[in-house]
């Protein structure tokens, strides 16, 4: 089920909201689990079993780690504690192996065999035949959440959960199940046991949900048409390539941040407080700052569970650069099993390492703020070309057109205007509106926190029904991050 569908908006959401507020608190987590399993299994009920399996394993591992903590802490000396400590580690390793195993199998098996077949064919060996594995939606998100629980319990950053229903609720919570934010267990542990339901919190959630809905339906899906046209061209002109890359830059931001706003908003409507996921990233003055503002829940997850365990910045400058590059490389791979994502991750990692080498400053630090923001934005655009391209060949072709100019054939095909991309008035309006929102307006969370009725709330109350009306015109349009 997707948030921008009639079945969700007009049937699932009102039914769950109604039941949630009718039931006493002790039943509410159970209701959310049932609703989340229905939400997740709506199109593929068999994938619910996979999530349930992952949930059971991590619940068991977390309880095991908790028991071992007690035994280790209660042991009279280190020798007595050692077997329990080893057992505790085994629980953690089991959790890691199961989660990474599921992720590896479902997400990377096809890529691995494909890559192997390319090698085999180059050696004249017959390729391996296999049936392609279908990627369960959101597996990257819920396995990361699941792992964060085991690690947090192991590190004693969070207590092991008592009730299975609370843990199942944490893993499956439908607002952020399939595309984040990646909420860590320690963030939600207390809220699972007790959370406030106030008018203000509900209103804040409703406002964020509406803003996210508008961002996705009216902006992201509209500029997506421009990006799709550009990336469908076999030989784009410079103008077409830039137009497509800029349109995609705005599409991915409004799509993903729109989803995050809706997720955070829905969470608030059910009493949860999720962390911010997008903090006006295109206002960043460096790539380092960009990654503090873009997909914050992933970048902090990678920082806490990958970069810091690798040594972070504590093992000398060289090792810091390597750690940064490696973390972003794996971050790229997390987004998808394709060379384009790996190169995108490497590109981001390289910039982070470079800026670290310069002292966390961008190369263009001497420029005025506007110039720094503009340069960072251009660097982001270049990165998104790798992210959006179907293949590395297409990415190079696109970048070649952007920076190397148009080929004669492309110019001839594009005519006097230099572009074959058809842009209707709504698309044109959104393409102009998108940078205004990104660069000049506060982000959704800041708007939600502003006191008083204010123009944003009035405008949202008017535009939201229009965006819902727009829903009647659009065909199925999943969020970009569903594929990850």
């Amino acid at each position: 089920m997707i948030f921008t569908s009639q079945i969700f908006l007009f049937w699932f959401l009102p039914a769950v909201l109604l039941l949630y507020y009718v039931l006493p608190f002790k039943w509410r987590s159970g209701l959310l689990v049932l609703a989340s399993y229905l939400f997740y299994g709506w199109w593929r009920p068999d994938f619910v079993l996979l999530m349930l399996f992952s949930t059971l394993v991590d619940f068991w591992c977390g309880r095991g780690i908790g028991r071992m903590h007690a035994l280790v802490d209660g042991a009279p000396d280190e020798a007595a504690a050692a077997p329990h400590a080893r057992k505790r580690k085994r629980f953690l390793v089991t959790s890691m192996v199961v989660n990474l195993g599921l992720l590896g199998y479902f997400k990377y098996w096809n890529f691995g065999i494909d890559s192997l077949n390319v090698l085999l064919e180059s050696w004249g060996v017959a390729p391996i035949e296999w049936a392609a594995i279908v990627l369960p939606v959101g597996i990257s998100f819920y396995t990361f959440q699941s792992m964060s629980y085991s690690i947090d319990v192991y590190r004693k950053d969070a207590p092991p959960v008592d009730r299975f229903i609370d843990f199942a609720c944490y893993i499956s919570l439908f607002p952020q199940l399939v595309a984040g934010p990646i909420v860590r267990y320690r963030t939600l542990a207390d809220q699972l046991a007790q959370r406030d339901h106030t008018l203000e919190k509900f209103a804040r959630g409703a406002f964020l949900f509406q803003i996210g809905f508008i961002k996705k339906l009216l902006v992201a899906d509209t500029v997506a048409v421009i990006a799709a046209q550009a990336f469908d061209l076999e030989d784009p002109t410079a103008l077409e390539a830039w137009l497509g890359a800029v349109a995609y830059t705005f599409q991915i931001y409004f799509d993903f941040s729109g989803y995050s706003d809706m997720a955070i908003g829905l969470g608030a409507m059910f009493g949860f407080t999720f962390p911010i996921n997008f903090d006006s990233p295109y206002k960043s003055r460096s790539i380092t700052e960009f990654w503090r503002r873009w997909h914050v829940s992933l970048s902090t997850w990678l920082r806490d569970y990958l970069y810091i365990p690798l040594g972070g910045n504590q093992k000398g400058p060289r090792r810091t650069y390597v750690n940064l590059a490696l973390t972003m490389l794996l971050g790229g791979l997390w987004h998808g099993a394709a060379w384009t994502f790996i190169v995108w991750g490497a590109y981001q990692g390289a910039w982070l390492a470079f800026e670290r080498w310069l002292g966390k400053k961008p190369l263009y630090a001497a420029l005025p703020v506007v110039g720094q923001v503009a340069c960072t934005f251009v660097l982001a655009i270049v990165g998104w070309v790798f992210f959006r391209a179907e293949s590395m060949d297409q990415a190079w072709l696109f970048l070649g057109s952007m920076f190397g100019g148009s080929s004669d054939a492309a110019l001839a095909a594009a005519g006097a205007a230099g572009s074959r991309i058809a842009i209707d008035p709504l698309q044109s309006l959104m393409l102009w509106l998108a940078p205004v929102i990104c660069f000049l307006l506060p982000n959704s969370q800041a708007l939600a926190d502003k006191p008083g009725v204010g123009l944003p709330r009035l405008a949202t109350a008017v535009v939201f029904p229009l965006a819902v009306a727009h829903l009647f015109f659009v065909s199925y349009s999943p969020f970009l991050y569903f594929q990850f």
Binding site: Q6, L9, R204, F207, G415, A417, A422, P425, L429, R457
Partner: protein
């Protein structure tokens, strides 16, 4: 957030999320209302049932019917557009965008000689059996009235003259309608529709009638003589198919803005009020046409101009070359004789944007004509389904929904049939949405050990007949036949027939 703003925000959300279902329920539109298929365990596990619930909800949404027109009017007033499918040109002329934007159709133009040769092969087959084929080849309004188009990039480049020249070069008898329908003597196209107007239809029919009369200089036209007069009837307000696509409120102010006066021109028996629309029975003169003929009475006009009965085989719908398959299916199975004169009407885009839907059925007729006449019988086989959910079954076949990307119907034949190419598989398919129907046949247990055949179909109100000559590489007998309607969420697959040359013994 103060209480007032909280109430404003919550109110606008709840109004939508609770108001919409309340509105639907009071109109009797529950989520499962209108579902036609049974909910089975398989359909739930594969997501088919969920998909159907969503589709049915969206198809039947009462709110959508109310909201859409108002939203379209608002969008048009604000931005001058409601859908990218319709271009709004000068003086409120409307155009279908798909045939105009995107620049010159180079791939289709490169294929043009092949397409014309394929048509010529079919015309030669008709000619060998005494049928003369005249083409009423219609230019689209953008080809003749490009000044009415909005500014486009790249600019629209008419290709009708090139298409006409290619058909003439292939030896086809084509009537050039560019002068008849051009802007010199008036406007011969509806500004709010994708078709010509009745005056345009009449001028084209006159040009075609002149060509036909030139074939029979002594006036010895085939067919039953008819006495008729051509009359123009009273005009009425008409909103064309492009106005419907803009999606305004019917009879609303925007609908009225784009409506035009339209007067029908048809043939009548002198003194009688009922028009003559052409015959449904086989006649020596046949008009095979599209919505240009069906909606604008070309058969009636030809009847009046020629003074002969005309068999009217014009039908609206996105049929491409499948109307010709229908006619030829009757000839190939001995249900009717060849006509003496065939007027084949189609618009220029059949050779450009619609070429797969046109050329494939045409070549399939040429491919199966060897062996004619055929005896048709139901395919004796056991049916198995994969990735298909049957919604409804009747004597003519079944209506199904695709559960995955490769829905497949497998027919295991009661008796193997020869793979020497002497047999033809024929089956009708009706699809929702563009579709690629793949037919495959096997000589043994391994799928794909025989051959495959692909055919593009578009959504239509009428089933399209697919004709496939069953041939295996080594002539081995065929044991299984598969039909895969890929890309269409819903389809109706008719009972397959096996065509055997009339003189051949039944397969054993």
């Amino acid at each position: 957030m103060n209480r007032l703003s909280a109430c404003l925000v919550i109110g606008s959300l709840l109004l939508v999320v609770f108001g919409a279902p309340a509105y639907e329920i009071t109109g009797g539109n529950w989520p499962t209302a209108g579902m036609t298929g049974d909910v089975t365990l398989e359909s739930v596990l594969t997501g088919g049932a969920a998909q159907e619930v969503e589709d049915t909800l969206e198809d039947r949404a009462l709110l959508s019917e109310r909201v859409r027109p108002r939203y379209n009017e608002l969008m048009f007033l604000a931005l001058g557009v409601t859908t990218p499918r319709v271009l709004v040109g000068r003086d409120d002329w409307l155009f279908l965008a798909t045939r105009i934007v995107g620049g010159r159709p180079d791939a289709a133009m490169a294929r043009l000689p092949t397409t014309c040769a394929e048509i010529k092969a079919l015309v030669d087959w008709f000619g060998a059996h005494g049928t003369h084929v005249v083409f009423e080849f219609i230019p689209r309004k953008q080809s003749l009235y490009p000044d009415q188009l909005p500014d486009l990039n790249p600019p629209f480049e008419p290709v009708y003259p090139e298409l006409l020249a290619a058909m003439q070069a292939a030896g086809l008898h084509v009537v050039d309608l560019s002068d008849e329908l051009g802007p010199a003597d008036g406007v011969f196209f509806l500004t709010n529709d994708d078709h010509w107007n009745h005056a345009g239809s009449y001028r084209a029919a006159q040009a075609v009638a002149e060509e036909i009369l030139a074939i029979y200089p002594d006036g010895d036209l085939p067919g039953t003589p008819v006495e008729a007069e051509i009359r123009t009837t009273e005009s009425y307000r008409f909103a064309g198919n492009l106005v419907d696509m803009l999606g305004f409120q019917r009879d609303g102010f925007m609908y009225e803005r784009f409506s035009v006066d339209r007067a029908r021109i048809r043939s009548f028996v002198p003194g009688m009020p009922r028009p003559l629309l052409g015959s449904d029975e086989p006649q020596p003169i046949v008009l095979l046409g599209t919505s240009f003929s069906a909606g604008f009475h070309t058969a009636s006009l030809l009847l009046g101009l020629l003074g002969r009965e005309v068999e009217n085989r014009a039908e609206a719908g996105l049929a491409g070359g499948y109307r010709m398959v229908d006619l030829c299916r009757e000839i190939l199975t001995g249900k009717r004789d060849f006509p003496e004169l065939l007027v084949w009407e189609f618009p220029e885009d059949f050779l450009v944007q619609s070429v797969p839907y046109f050329a494939q059925p045409v070549t399939s007729i040429v491919d199966v004509e060897r062996g004619f006449p055929y005896r048709e019988e139901p395919l004796a086989a056991t049916r198995a389904l994969s990735g298909v959910r049957i919604v409804k079954e009747d004597a003519d076949g079944f209506e199904g929904r695709a559960l995955d990307r490769d829905p497949r119907i497998t027919y295991t034949l009661d008796r193997p049939i020869p793979g020497d190419g002497s047999r033809v598989l024929a089956f009708p398919v009706l699809v929702s949405g563009n579709c690629n129907v793949v037919s495959a046949w096997d000589t043994g247990p391994q799928p794909g050990s025989g051959g495959t055949h692909e055919r593009y179909l578009r959504n239509s109100e009428f089933p399209h007949w697919i004709l496939v000559r069953l041939r295996t590489r080594d002539g081995k007998p065929i044991r299984k036949v598969h039909v895969s309607p890929r890309g269409a969420p819903r389809f109706h697959v008719g009972t397959p027939q096996l065509w055997t040359p009339a003189e051949a013994a039944p397969a054993r």
